[in-house]
């Protein structure tokens, strides 16, 4: 294998970014309502040249206020989940690890349900009520992250196997509580929750939340990227990495916390979108190899591409009825995953 040079890294990322751009443009064009990109482009140029003041209302409302924010949200969520997946797979040295394996999404779901129940009791203004579910989800995710972290400690050190087992037990325990609480929810709250659990991008989020997500992603993914070389060495085994001078404890903590934050942020706005965090890193590894300096940015871009495609399908396949994007990623992801698995074995 040729060594990874900065030029090659940038070239490959540029290629993925170009694919993402094309996918986004196509996603902007497709939807329940037909819009002409030519018309939109012409309108945009007119606005930029100050020939007119505003886009014609259909383009403005549908493309810029509904479609674009949804696509942007998908990009951040997809990138977060994939980077988290790649990190957990390296951290736990387990190819089946995904962002949800350590209970983050279950914790987030529980937090969201509790928030919904509390919201029903309080009389909140709609703007605040809209933020309470993501907020509750994030708190739930954060608490779970902390609990699972302490479950994973052995003799004061994080142990990968113990962490994994602690996570799995936490998931089943939290799922039981979620099922119990779900029976107490009624009507629209229950149905909203069912949508949320499947993973859904259809609700426009406030712009401030979107900025917050972007910043959170850049910080957490950046933190993970600083450990990329160490993660490569960790693949050889923890002892080996330690002998090669890797501060394994520090890497574990940084990666664990940053990846959990990425998952918590994504889950809190979109629910549990399955398979992206598991599948995209594997696909990227097959294409680009397992050097994490390449794998992490590639996973970010690949995850964004995957979610934008899946969500575009979710928006269009049964239009005008929206499908939850989680159903789409699972439907496409499971067979693809099996195919890749068989091919690699063969």
């Amino acid at each position: 294998m040729r060594p990874l040079t900065l030029t090659r890294l940038l070239l490959r990322c540029g290629m993925l970014a170009a694919i993402l751009f094309v996918v986004v443009v196509i996603a902007l064009k497709l939807g329940a309502v037909q819009v002409s990109l030519y018309g939109l482009g012409k309108d945009l140029i007119d606005v930029l040249l100050r020939r007119t003041n505003a886009l014609s209302s259909d383009y403005g409302l549908i493309v810029l206020d509904i479609r674009l924010p949804r696509i942007l949200l998908g990009i951040v969520v997809g990138a977060s989940l994939s980077v988290a997946g790649a990190s957990f797979q390296a951290l736990l040295r387990n190819p089946l690890a995904d962002p949800y394996v350590l209970g983050v999404s279950s914790g987030a779901a529980l937090g969201a349900i509790v928030a919904l129940i509390i919201e029903g009791r309080l009389n909140l203004s709609p703007e605040i009520a809209g933020l309470i579910t993501p907020f509750g989800a994030f708190i739930g995710a954060a608490i779970t992250i902390a609990v699972v972290y302490f479950l994973g400690l052995r003799d004061g050190e994080v142990d990968s196997t113990t962490l994994l087992l602690g996570g799995i037990i936490t998931v089943s325990f939290l799922s039981a509580i979620i099922m119990f609480l779900m029976t107490t929810l009624t009507g629209s709250n229950l149905r909203g929750m069912a949508f949320w659990l499947m993973g859904d991008l259809s609700t426009p989020q406030p712009r401030s939340l979107l900025y917050f997500l972007c910043i959170g992603f850049l910080v957490a993914a950046g933190a993970i990227y600083t450990t990329a070389s160490d993660l490569n060495l960790l693949l050889a085994g923890e002892k080996e990495a330690m002998h090669l001078g890797v501060d394994v404890q520090r890497v574990r903590i940084v990666v664990y916390i940053a990846a959990s934050i990425l998952t918590g942020l994504a889950v809190s706005v979109s629910g549990a979108i399955g398979y992206v965090g598991l599948l995209v890193p594997h696909v990227m590894r097959l294409i680009f190899g397992s050097d994490h300096r390449m794998l992490i940015p590639a996973s970010a871009l690949g995850g964004a591409i995957a979610i934008v495609i899946a969500d575009t399908l979710a928006r269009t396949v049964t239009a005008p009825t929206d499908l939850p994007v989680g159903a789409m990623t699972a439907a496409a992801g499971a067979p693809l995953f099996l195919y890749l698995l068989r091919r690699r074995i063969a």
Partner: protein
Amino acid sequence: MMHDVIDEFGRTVRLPLVPARIVSLAPSLTETIYALGAQDRLVGDTDYCDYPPEAKKKAKVGGVMNPNLEEIAALHPDLVLVTKEGNRPDTVRALDTLGIPAYATDARTVDEVLSNTQKLAEILGVPEAGSSLTADLRGRLEALHGKLQDVPPTRVFFVVWTEPLQSVGKDTFVADALRKADAASIIDVKQDWPLISLEEVARLQPEYLVFAASHFDIGARDFDALAERPGWRILDAVRNRRFAVVSDAVIRPTPRIVSAIEDLARQLHPSAFPELPAPEKPAPSPVKPSTGPAPNPAHISQSVLPSTQEIACAR
């Protein structure tokens, strides 16, 4: 001209005095719009808006739970109607974000169904249609009450689904509709759509099982099939074939619910209606929905239709 109204979410919404382009996100609201004669201004509704049949021809914006925001926006509505019960709060928030005025209704009793109809009539700018419709419906409910006041209520179990077995809680408009038909639901819980064990139903032994036509596709033959299922024969009502099927209007908070109430009352208390032996059916036996082509009532404000016809339509 605009005015501010407060909806059932407690939101203050600025609406035109006479909305010209209405999108309905619930079958019950679509029905009510037709009942008020405002259907010409209804520019879009959901995949599930099936009554009256013309409502199926309106532009569709997707499901009740997952309407497509783009389709809604493309219709340029000046009023989107939602229900607190059926639609997601997220949908309302999304519409708020997009600056599309949304008004939410919520009915937990039959009286609220009627007062909401009146309120909706005012919002649609047709208050007179609302008052004449609701006055008529109130009159019918009072007449029914007069007939039934000396009749002891029948203890019933309302079946929403059989698998899992689901009924209605006491705070729903369905339970209230049962009460208006002089039927008492044996299920006395606060949850709106509780799951109930067959054992519990057997313990309480209702006199009648009540089914809504659309949710439970039941005729006499289907009822026999149900009786064959394990455990069901434990119910006296099943052994004695005591069951009633009412139009799906009973589970829709619309003006048509009054007809469903009258129909149910007739099935449960035939002796209270000596002067009106229901046509085409021997009084106490369950309604067998006709299989012929459904008559096509022009719209619901002529809802003084014979109940059997309505069942046929609902199916």
